[in-house]
């Protein structure tokens, strides 16, 4: 039976594959097929755990913070792989692997309450698309964050073209997540938008990325400014995702489920 108790037994082989893929990709100047397949293997092992947990819980594992971290690690490995294969950045897999493993470690060291109950407000057809679309978007924007940090350290003009690609994909999924949330909120609470703290931080994040997209259409904007906007937007995204739970403004937020 797959459960959180044997999470380590899945993370360990997945981590080995991911690390092997990262090392292989860095060592070779061209695209490495070996890196591709080892990373895919790691992701598949991880997928088996998610699928098993889903069956075991008899509900989608998307509710607690621990469960969303699981999806984040999963999508991060996929986004990293796409970025590596599509734009041939040798250094991207080490970073996405590191980030994915950090989130796995948090789940091992600080497991949340993993019960089987799903409160009635979360029982909706919107639940799965809303959360998975967001997690995928976060992972793509995570890649843009890594690339921006590197660009700030050593700028190359082609980084901005790659960032455009990543941000357009990330923003598209961010929009899908936000709007599926709005439609769901109308069904659940009666309003599309009510400036709940989580919604407010989602809006800040969304406008941050929109700001980048529009600044890219202007001429004469310094690359440092663009990198900083992506870095700051990714930080507001972290506040939106889990940081709001610790903000004084979020006491009484309708979006806090994990303390149930």
């Amino acid at each position: 039976m797959i459960s959180w108790d044997n999470f380590e037994y899945f993370v360990a082989p997945a981590a080995l594959c991911w690390i092997a893929g990262a090392v292989l990709s860095v060592r070779q100047a061209t695209r490495s097929r070996a890196a591709l397949w080892t990373t895919v293997a790691g992701t598949l092992i991880f997928a088996v755990f998610i699928a098993g947990l889903w069956i075991m819980l008899s509900r989608p594992p998307l509710r607690t913070m621990g469960e969303t971290r699981l999806w984040y690690s999963f999508f991060l490995s996929i986004s990293g792989l796409i970025t590596y294969w599509r734009w041939r950045y040798r250094w991207v897999l080490p970073f996405t692997t590191l980030l994915a493993l950090v989130f796995c470690m948090i789940n091992i060291l600080k497991p949340e309450i993993h019960d089987q109950s799903l409160m009635p407000a979360l029982q909706s057809p919107w639940f799965i698309p809303h959360v998975t679309v967001y997690m995928f978007s976060y992972s793509v924007l995570g890649c843009s964050f890594i690339l921006s940090c590197i660009g700030l350290y050593r700028h190359k003009p082609e980084y901005l073209d790659t960032l455009d690609q990543l941000v357009y994909v990330g923003l598209a999924f961010l929009t899908l997540g936000m709007l599926s949330g709005a439609v769901w909120a109308k069904d659940a609470w009666g309003n599309y938008w009510s400036w709940d703290p989580k919604e407010t931080w989602a809006a800040i994040t969304w406008f941050g990325y929109l700001l980048y997209v529009h600044l890219r259409l202007m001429s004469g904007v310094s690359h440092r400014k663009l990198y900083w906007i992506l870095i700051l937007s990714f930080l507001t995204l972290q506040i939106c995702w889990y940081g709001v739970n610790y903000l004084p403004s979020a006491q009484g937020s309708v979006h806090v489920y994990s303390q149930a």
Partner: protein, 299 residues
């Protein structure tokens, strides 16, 4: 002067904070139907005339420029940071008179404050103007531009102008006692023009005692409807009935449930905007970034 646009917007926001300090929050409910519809039409007409006949004036160029997009976004983000960091009072329960310096600036009721509404109005005016231009001139991925910008404009417009027409009431509904009494958030009683009675209430529990699902069979003027969480019932155009709570301490014999009546006639405008934005998000993913150099003038 190069930075006249930034200075004008900054000074306007500053002055509106002063208005907020002196006069308190914006009188949202004053702009209810039909005043909001009339104002929307006049506003659109004014923007259209401005676009058609005064395109080369400074003000029109300002409303069309990409710099305005950027400045408006930054201002909007800054004001949203206040909402995100400072606890907000419910929009239905304003603070009233008095308070500290910061409270009087409206930091606890930012979404109904003068500066915030001004930035939203500026953003909507800007969106309307670039949509006019986009319909006529834009080349390239024109339909993506139009669905995304028109969609956002409609979603904002529905929320902004429709908020004065939005009403929410809580209704306790009892078994064997048909009633019409509903309560607004400020405690005021409102009488519905239909009668509600609880017929049956069913709850299922998980092993740990948490409710897993519940549903209420309610008679609306004698006609039976089933209400569940996430499944509201539409009473009429713009008015829906939601199940929000029940008699949780009653054990097996539940005597009442709490419904919420939401009147939001502008929700269809918002939904249209949201659907357009969803389509444009798909297009954003499929078509990817704009090729540089071709569309630069038209962002």
């Amino acid at each position: 002067m190069k930075h006249l646009d930034i200075i004008s917007i900054g000074v306007s926001v500053f002055l509106l904070f002063a208005v907020q300090y002196i006069a308190g929050g914006f009188p949202v409910t004053f702009f209810s139907f039909p005043l909001n519809i009339i104002l929307v039409l006049l506003w659109l007409l004014a923007l259209w005339v401005l676009y058609k006949d005064y395109r080369h004036t400074r003000f029109c160029r300002f409303l069309l420029s990409l710099r305005t997009t950027v400045i408006t976004f930054v201002m909007f983000i800054l004001l949203c940071l206040v909402i995100g960091l400072v606890p907000q009072h419910s929009a239905m329960m304003p603070m009233g008179e008095g308070g500290t310096f910061w409270e009087r600036l409206g930091i606890h009721e930012m979404t109904t404050s003068w500066p915030f509404l001004f930035i939203l109005l500026l953003l909507q005016s800007h969106l309307a103007m670039i949509t006019f231009r986009g319909i006529r001139n834009r080349k390239g991925i024109r339909w993506r531009f139009l669905t995304s910008h028109l969609g956002l404009w409609l979603a904002l417009l529905g929320g902004f102008w429709g908020s004065a027409d939005t009403r929410m009431y809580r209704v306790p509904v009892y078994k064997e006692q048909p009633g019409r009494m509903a309560y607004a958030a400020d405690g005021r009683v409102h009488y519905l023009d239909y009668e509600l009675e609880l017929l049956r209430f069913e709850v299922d529990y998980y092993d740990n005692g948490m409710p897993s699902t519940y549903q209420a069979d309610v008679a609306v003027d004698g006609q039976e409807v089933i209400l569940k969480v996430n499944e509201p019932h539409s009473i009429r155009f713009g008015e829906d009935l939601y199940l929000t709570g029940y008699d949780m301490h009653a054990g097996d014999e539940i005597r009442y449930c709490v419904l919420q009546v939401v009147r939001q006639p502008w929700k269809y405008v918002q939904l249209t905007g949201i659907i357009m934005m969803l389509l444009s998000a798909v297009a954003l993913f499929v078509k990817g970034p704009i090729k540089r150099g071709k569309d630069d003038q038209l962002g």
